[in-house]
Amino acid sequence: MSAVLQNLVNQPYKHGFVTEIESDIAPKGLNEDIIKLISAKKGEPAWMLDFRLKAYYQWLKMDEPKWPNVKYPKIDFQAISYYAAPKPKKKLSSMDEVDPELLRTFEKLGVPMHERAALAGVAVDVIFDSVSVATTYKQKLAEVGIIFCSISEAVQMHPELVRQYLGTVVPVGDNYYAALNSAVFTDGTFCFIPKGVQCPMDLSTYFRINTEESGQFERTLIVAEEGASVSYLEGCTAPKFDTNQLHAAVVELVALDNADIKYSTVQNWYAGDENGLGGIYNFVTKRGLAKGTNSRISWTQVETGSAITWKYPSCILQGDNSVGEFYSVAVTNNYQQADTGTKMIHIGKNTRSTIVSKGISSGHSNNSYRGLVRIAPTAAGARNYSQCDSMLIGDKCGAHTFPYIQVRNQEAKVEHEASTSKIGEDQLFYFAQRGIGSEEAVSMIINGFCKDVFQQLPMEFAVEATKLLGFKLEGSVG
């Protein structure tokens, strides 16, 4: 955590409302006082508090969405505590203290040794002496004028930028979870690539969030100015546990003229046990605004975790000739439920979008693709190509496809292809007859199935994702 934030959090409480709250964890429930408390604890400027309150009052008037194809017990939003002082992860002094199960997982995933330590929360300097990695990284970015920091830090250090863009892509009242996030978010990432700068390396949350617990309501804002480009990696393949069951993140991307933002996610939240108990509910709003001409927003996601995933990374193609892409692999096993997909909103002329969605279901899981392609009357010459493939492993799981297509321009061209396939006994027998066991066979078939998406991932991520899928589906056949 940044020093700035640390200082702010540790400041004596001075604003005076709700004086009875002195502890580091806010009492359960949500009301105006709690929001004021969050804002005050973080020492935010008035406009930020206004933003939160506006979101809160909209949220109060909204209902939880019922349309996703997922089932879960009703969430009591008044039973959640919305603020806890950020605390550093508990440091372990050696690898011997790490849960052997976690180490076994790292082993299987092939996570490099030094990363295993960091991911498991072992003090980095105990294991390897490259403490300077993160520092070097930051320096390099600063040299070219890139801002990459926590959103709280950005509110303090670059308030004008945050104020200019925050909530412009996902308005505070956009949807139930986005409104909730806007009201109570406590941390997240801010990333700003100035005009003409090509980010010299992939930006990874790995370098930012390792020292602290990530929040339950994460907020991310990435802005690429004219001609800038960036590739951002979120998450990692290592399993991620959290005591908070509900997660509602908001991610906003803004690409100006000729800018290019590539956002890749590998999501591996705890999915619950094999009966589906205890997993994370992941309700995320991700949206990119291709604001400038020739701008490009590309989402690539590999979704493997969470008990419930509700997520539709979307692109608003406002600039003429702008491009939106969505490449997704969503895997569900056991009792996981995923309702995921994308929205491509074509506004500018000659805007183009590509959707490639691969859903893999096994066990008793349910996997739904939900995609909207909307071509506005202004979007002359717009084109969309969608391909949605589902793969079933076993016969107790389900795959569903819900495409919504709204074309309001005669010159637009929209193509949609869908397929469902099954990993059958006869395919596995064919592999076995050539000496190849079922685990390896499934992994080969799955990787073949996901190839179009994995190709979009940065190299290292792709290798990890491949292994992760094999691991996730282990024991799902035979």
Binding site: D426, F429, F431, Q433, G435, M444, I445, G448
Partner: protein
């Protein structure tokens, strides 16, 4: 006649098997020695492919009686992949398509798995590429089939050639070729059978399932067995196939009761 120095590779005794509760194999006896070629013929639905799949270990079929020894070991102690690694190979009558999995990748993995089992050297992708291209030349296969999905969109004959390519790579002890000839054009039949003959040694054995003599013109069998209703009802030499070609199957079995193989 038994070849000098040959040994028993496969010994099937009273084999019975069911699928979906229906008994298909009703007591099969067959002995195969190294260096031998056995042809199994018989009417459609008589159980030839079932027999092949039971030997290879397809999970849809339950063995309900009898025994099978492969090189002296109980075959049913081995999983399907262990059988393959031990040298049992089945060229499928209907090779399945596996879209998205590159043929080259699949072939290499199969090859390396079997090589590892035999304690032999595994090949990296580049080495394997050269190796497999040589084998493909033998079968006059276009290398472009390496880049396609396994059997994906292959024509009937191309699938069969791909099966024999796998046989050439894996060099099995016991190769069961289930109607490999069907779907092959005249030239392809010659090319593929020539390839199979090259792979035939004094150490291994081949079981050919076929309906037609033309295959047996190229790969000359030591024994011909006739299967009906899940049993081998007649066994003879290569001339039996010629008899069947002219006379059909009706007369078989009317003559004498079933005889075990060699």
């Amino acid at each position: 006649m038994i070849r000098e120095g040959s040994r028993i590779l496969l010994e099937v005794r009273g084999l019975r098997a069911v699928v979906n509760g229906i008994e298909i194999l009703k007591g099969i006896d067959l002995t195969v020695r190294s260096g031998e070629v056995h042809a199994i013929m018989g009417t459609n639905g008589s159980g030839k492919s079932t027999f092949a799949k039971v030997l290879a270990g397809h999970s849809a079929y339950q063995v309900t009686g009898g025994s099978v020894l492969f090189e002296g070991r109980d075959l049913f102690d081995l999983s399907p992949e262990e059988r393959a690694r031990a040298g049992v190979f089945l060229a499928f009558q209907y090779p399945i398509e596996i879209p998205g999995v590159a043929n080259s990748h699949f072939l290499r993995l199969a090859y390396n798995t079997v090589q590892a089992q035999r304690g032999k050297e595994e090949l990296d992708p580049l080495e394997f590429e050269d190796f497999v291209r040589d084998k493909m030349k033998l079968l006059e296969m276009n290398p472009e089939f390496l880049d396609r999905g396994v059997n994906e969109g292959f024509s009937g004959g191309e699938k069969k050639r791909n099966e024999i390519l796998q046989m050439a790579l894996l060099e099995p002890r016991l190769a069961i070729l289930d109607e490999t000839d069907s779907g092959l054009d005249i030239d392809a039949l010659r090319i593929v059978t020539t390839g199979v003959n090259k792979l035939s040694t004094a150490d291994n054995a081949i079981i050919l399932v076929t309906h037609y003599q033309r295959m047996l013109n190229y790969i000359v069998p030591d024994f011909v067995h006739v299967m009906r209703a899940g049993q081998i009802i007649k066994t003879g030499g290569k001339e039996l196939a010629l008899d069947l070609e002219t006379r059909g199957y009706d007369w078989v079995g009317a003559e004498q009761p079933a005889m075990a193989g060699a």
